[in-house]
Structure formats: C-alpha cells, structure tokens
Symmetry: C2
Subunit: 128 residues, 2 copies
C-alpha cells in the first residue's frame, strides 16, 4: 500500500517530467498563505504613486499629506488613498500633529528593497 504524503496532493492530474525535483521543490516551497502575503506586499509596492511616496519619505524622513501631494505630483485624495494601502501593509506610519498627519517609513526592509529595485531597473536599462 502506498502511503499518501503532502507531496502527492494534486500530482495525479498533471504530467510530471522530473518527479524527484518536483517533490523537492514542493517540500521546500513556503506555505500558500505565506506566499500570498509576500505577493500582497509586492502588489502594494507595485504602483507608481506609492513607489514615489516611499521615495519621498525615504529622502526627507517625514512629510504631511499635502506636502507629499506636492512632491509626487498627485491629488491629496489620491495620496491619502495610496497611504491607506501603505499603512495597512505596515510600510508607513502616521503621526498626528494638529490638523496635519505626518507620514514616515515604518519598515526596515523598504529602503533596501527600493535600492534593489532601482538596481534592477538600471541593470535592465543598460541591457537594451
């Protein structure tokens, strides 16, 4: 009798060429909810307005919404909506001062991430 393990799930329907390598990959693959969260994080970063917001905050540390609006060249409403995403993703932190909200980066990884991204873009640029 063949014992069923996690690696056999959903494998019967599709043709597999290198079964061994497939099983190794499946065993090393992160859990689905983990890759989902990772993808969601990237998706939040994957918008030009939000990328620009992050760069603005990266450079000067802290800015209110209307100043961010002036820096990135977007409506204050758009900026507010965008910041909502970034806040929900734990990338940005808000601080209230009077009627203004000051936003700043709240993620140690973002700085490195933006640098990596810029390197990638420039690397590709040279390739053309």
């Amino acid at each position: 009798m063949i014992t069923a393990n996690a690696a056999d799930v959903d494998m019967c329907e599709v043709s597999v060429i290198d079964r061994k390598r497939v099983e190794v990959a499946r065993s090393l693959m992160p859990a689905i909810d983990e890759t989902d969260r990772m993808a969601e994080w990237f998706r939040v970063l994957g918008d030009p307005t939000r990328t620009r917001l992050l760069y603005a905050l990266l450079e000067v540390g802290e800015l209110c919404v209307c100043d961010l609006s002036a820096v990135v060249g977007a409506t204050e409403s758009t900026v507010s909506h965008s910041l909502r995403w970034l806040r929900a993703a734990g990338i940005v932190r808000a601080r209230r001062s009077g009627r203004m909200m000051y936003y700043s980066l709240d993620d140690e990884h973002v700085r490195m991430l933006l640098n990596l991204s810029r390197e990638h873009v420039r690397h590709r640029e040279r390739g053309r």
Copy 2:
C-alpha cells in the same frame, strides 16, 4: 520678482506646509519613468502564482512548465501566462530542450528580494 525654478512646477495649485523640505524631496526624487519601471517590477512580483513560481525556481534551479505546474498547483496554461510576465520583466530565462521549455531565474536581485519579502511577512506576523 520671484524667479521660477524646476521645484516650483505644479506647486502653485496645492497648499504646501514645509516648502523647503518639499523642494529637497523633489530634487532627490528619481525620474518618473524610473519609478514607473520600479513599480512595474514590483507589480510583476505581486501575484501569488508568480511568487510561487519564483520560489520553485529558487529552490531547484530549473524546471519545465508542467513540473512548475505541479509544484505551484496551477494549470499549465496559467503557469505559461505567468512565466510570460516574468520573462518580459527579465526575471526569468527560458531554455528549450526538445519539446520542453526549462525556466530558471535570470535576476541576481530576486533571491535577495524574496528573502526580504519573507522577513517582512514574518516580522508582521509576529506583531499581531
């Protein structure tokens, strides 16, 4: 008379609180087409299927489409569509061998990026 410089563009319409900081941020901000490309790169990564495909390739180096399909648990058509994005973004490379296409990572930064992403996700996980 006030001289107009680059930093004044589009600044007249919105209210600015800290003009000095805004100008600094604007001068340090990457060009729009650069942030656009960065955002596009992130957007390509921002899909669960594609994230999982990258992890599969990260672990075992090279896989054909049907094996990738088995590893990530998606239709071969879906996998092919996803790989198309990754290839267009220069993240993945294809090699033909007979009737099979073998895919592998084609970006030095992706490995580091996925690690950063995973750290972020786990860091947030602990916070709750």
